[in-house]
């Protein structure tokens, strides 16, 4: 009796911590620690003495903000960011526009073969990004592409899709092809959860299907649109698969085409993990600022609307 009474308060007090422990431990081990280590590395650099050939000629030393100033002073980093911006300006509106359009069409009453169409649009998302980029890359190469063969036979002009402006379209096309299905499903799911009485009320008021779509459906799925937009921004900032896969096929995609490619080539091409860590940290901060900035703005707007 006495023993159980004395143990009880201890057990109750300790229990929450005990339950928290696994999650905290995993979070610390696999999230906080690697990120902390990345940030730590970003303040370090290698210092070589002499020819650097003897043992111990290479030491890791404190670099302060050197890696950051170097990354921020590197035009290639900005140019990469600009290229990604241009790419994002094509991908995000087109992908979300198509996703919304397809979702609305699937949700309309007169649709036929809905399950099949839904699957067909979604299927490209199931194809790994690298495979998709490879597949499209082959289709973009004039000498092996069936498209160019047809264009040639019809005597139509054959644009070079792997150079200049069309390169952005070519890259965006891969992302749109792969991402539309996913976003469509997100929007479609939230369309299905709109209560039927809302539609009935609209019908009684004499709303046309187009009016229902514009006045009821789109405003009611706004949270999903915000969510998909949020995901798309992050995905765009981190574009890597498509340009990396197309790079060997053309001179127009450099090894530092997008900021993330620069991180990769610095770490694994040049072996400078310190600069790569600094650049990765900068990208992470930019991603956080942009995406959460957008979320806050979206939230504030919806709150204002709710207040009205």
């Amino acid at each position: 009796m006495t023993s159980s009474r004395s143990r009880k308060p201890y057990g109750v007090k300790g229990a929450p911590y005990g339950f928290l422990l696994p999650a905290t431990l995993l979070f610390a081990l696999f999230f906080v620690l690697p990120i902390g280590y990345a940030v730590w590395l970003s303040f370090r650099k290698v210092h070589v003495s002499g020819l650097g050939l003897g043992a111990g000629a290479r030491r890791e030393v404190w670099a302060g903000l050197e890696n950051y100033t170097q990354a921020l002073g590197d035009n290639e980093f900005y140019d990469g960011a600009l290229r990604v911006l241009g790419y994002g300006c094509i991908v995000v509106p087109v992908m979300l526009g198509l996703a919304l359009l397809f979702a609305l069409m699937l949700d309309s009453e007169r649709v036929r073969l809905a399950p099949f169409t839904r699957l067909a649009i979604f299927l490209p998302y199931a194809i790994p990004g690298v495979v998709a980029a490879l597949l499209w890359g082959f289709l973009y190469l004039p000498d092996v592409s069936p498209f160019y063969f047809v264009l040639d036979r019809l005597g139509l002009p054959q644009p070079d899709l792997l150079d200049g402006g069309p390169l952005y379209l070519a890259l965006s096309n891969i992302a749109v092809w792969g991402g539309t299905g996913f976003n469509m499903i997100v929007i479609y799911t939230s369309l299905r959860s709109i209560p039927a009485e809302v539609y009935e009320a609209a019908k009684l008021d004499g709303a046309t299907p187009l009016q229902v779509a514009l006045r009821i459906k789109i405003p009611m799925v706004a949270p999903s649109l915000v969510l998909t937009f949020f995901f798309s921004i992050i995905a765009t900032l981190q574009v890597f698969n498509e340009p990396t896969t197309l790079k060997p096929l053309t001179n127009s995609v450099s090894t530092t085409w997008s900021p993330l490619m620069k991180v990769y080539v610095d770490a694994f091409g040049k072996g400078d993990i310190y600069s790569a860590a600094a650049e990765a940290t900068l990208i992470a901060v930019a991603t956080l600022v942009l995406s959460f900035g957008f979320l806050r703005a979206a939230n504030r707007r919806s709150k204002q609307e709710a207040a009205q």
Binding site: F31, P34, I35, Y37, A38, L41, K45, V46, H47, V48, S49, G50, L51, G52, L53, A55, A57, R58, G129, A132, F138, L141, D143, V144, I174, A175, G178, G179, F231, S232, I234, A235, Q238, V239, F240, N241, E242, P248, L249, T250, N251, S252, S254, T255, T256, V263, Y264, V265, A267, F268, G269, K270, G271, D272, I273, A276, A277, A280, T281, I283
Partner: protein, 438 residues
């Protein structure tokens, strides 16, 4: 999102090194005793069929000496260098690694590969001086045993050269003339392409012209990527691209394969390993190609560059460096091992004697029309110019890809691109703290 998988790259970059650090504690737990009793070695290599060659050792010599080697297949090139360096940081590297010659200074500079001068005995006598110099870096140390070499040659479609009335160029001037003559006769056909996606090709061409990109004097490195010889090479190829005498698209693409296979490109400046590449790239033109020595800068010269080639190095992390060196020497000098390497991995041996014996007494299947293929190749291999690699070849190569890729695309000045490459390389070395003179 199609790119969600990449979302974690930020942390992955670091997680790799972190994971490696964590592994340090438990890595390489073999045994810390000296070289007595059975020894287990790990060998990282990308050569196809290497497992069979390693088997040969484990069943023969290795069994006798109680040294068992485990082969672990790796990705080739720079990826493996990064992996070796990361493993070395964690002190959990393998015992043996395959390393390209140009990567050796990087590995040595990072303290990842060991000096095995004492352990390899008389292996030196099996190799040509120029090859051996690449594994000593001009010092008294020996950092690896040469495995394969890639002397450069000129490959051309013999049947199409005849059809267009072209002669095989022996100088680069003639090469340019051939390219122009072909353009006149068949505007749709290119002699070859200048590809910016494999820096090794350009490095080899510069080497042939007499360039020495990295040299040392005292405690200083001298970087001369934009020296007169390399400028000459850059100007030559840039000129051909600019006037449209040759193509400017990268090689190793499906389009390039098709161009070779359909006779849209009728020559390729390549190395001794080309038959393997052509077999997969242009299967339909088997037996129609021929090999000749690389064109020269002046008719009186007879030198070539090298493109590719690798060595077997022992790591500083290995607890059994003597045993590892014994295996490295066996792998690259023993007759049976070299035969197996030729047969299973398709490599062209660095060991001089092996170049004309065993598997190399008959031509490669793709070149069955050229009976003396390997006799010629061995002759050409002897004319290989000395190479001069430095501690950040990877940086120079990456810079080459971007600068020359853009220059080839825009048909702009190649010498400017060369200067970009030089500047990037020097800047990187200075950042690391190397003393650099020009």
């Amino acid at each position: 999102m199609p790119h969600t998988k990449r979302r974690r790259l930020v942390t992955t970059v670091v997680a790799v090194s972190l994971g490696a650090t964590a592994l340090a504690a438990c890595g390489s737990s073999d045994d810390s005793k000296a070289d007595s009793g059975p020894v287990n070695l790990t060998f990282w290599s990308w050569a196809p069929g290497m497992d069979k060659v390693v088997d040969l050792w484990n069943r023969g010599q290795g069994k006798k000496d109680q040294i068992t080697v485990t082969f672990k297949k790796q990705a080739s090139g720079d990826t493996l260098v990064t992996k070796i360096l990361t493993a070395h940081k964690a002190k959990s590297g393998p015992d043996l690694v395959q390393a390209e010659y140009q990567a050796l200074p990087t590995l040595v500079s990072n303290g990842a590969v060991a000096d095995i001068a004492k352990e390899i005995g008389d292996a030196r006598s099996d190799f040509a001086d120029g090859v051996w110099q690449q594994v000593t870096l001009g010092t008294d140390a020996v950092y690896a045993v040469p495995q394969d070499i890639g002397p450069m040659m000129f490959y051309y479609r013999a049947d199409l050269f005849k059809k267009y009335g072209l002669t095989v160029p022996t100088t680069w001037d003639e090469f340019a003339g051939t390219a122009r003559a072909l353009k006149k006769k068949a505007p749709d056909v290119d002699l070859t392409t200048f590809s910016a996606n494999d820096s090794g090709l350009f490095a080899g061409l510069a080497q042939q012209a007499g360039a020495k990109w990295w040299t040392t004097s005292g405690d200083k490195w001298k970087v001369a990527i934009d020296d007169a010889a390399t400028q000459k090479v850059a100007r030559f190829w840039g000129g051909l691209v600019k006037e449209g005498a040759i193509d400017n698209q990268p090689m190793y693409t499906p389009a390039w394969n098709k161009a070779l296979d359909t006779g849209k490109q009728i020559a390729w400046v390549s190395a001794v390993w080309a038959p393997g590449t052509l077999t997969t790239a242009a299967p339909d033109t088997k037996g129609k190609w021929a090999m000749a020595p690389l064109p020269q800068w002046s008719a009186s010269e007879n030198v070539t560059g090298s493109w590719g080639g690798s060595s077997t190095a022992v790591t500083t992390d290995s607890k059994h460096q003597a045993a590892a060196a014994e295996f490295a020497a066996w792998l690259n000098t023993d007759g049976d091992a070299l035969n197996a390497l030729a047969k299973e991995s398709g490599i062209y041996p660095a060991a001089t004697n092996a170049q004309t014996s065993g598997a190399f007494t008959s031509p490669p299947e793709y070149f069955s029309n050229q009976a003396d293929f390997y006799t010629e190749a061995a002759k050409i291999a002897k004319t290989t110019a000395p190479s001069a690699w430095g501690p950040n070849v990877n940086v120079a190569y990456t810079s080459f890809n971007d600068a020359f890729g853009a220059a080839a695309k825009n048909k702009s000045d190649f010498v400017t691109a060369l200067r970009t490459m030089q500047d990037a390389t020097v800047a990187d070395m200075k950042k690391q703290g190397f003393e650099v003179s020009r």
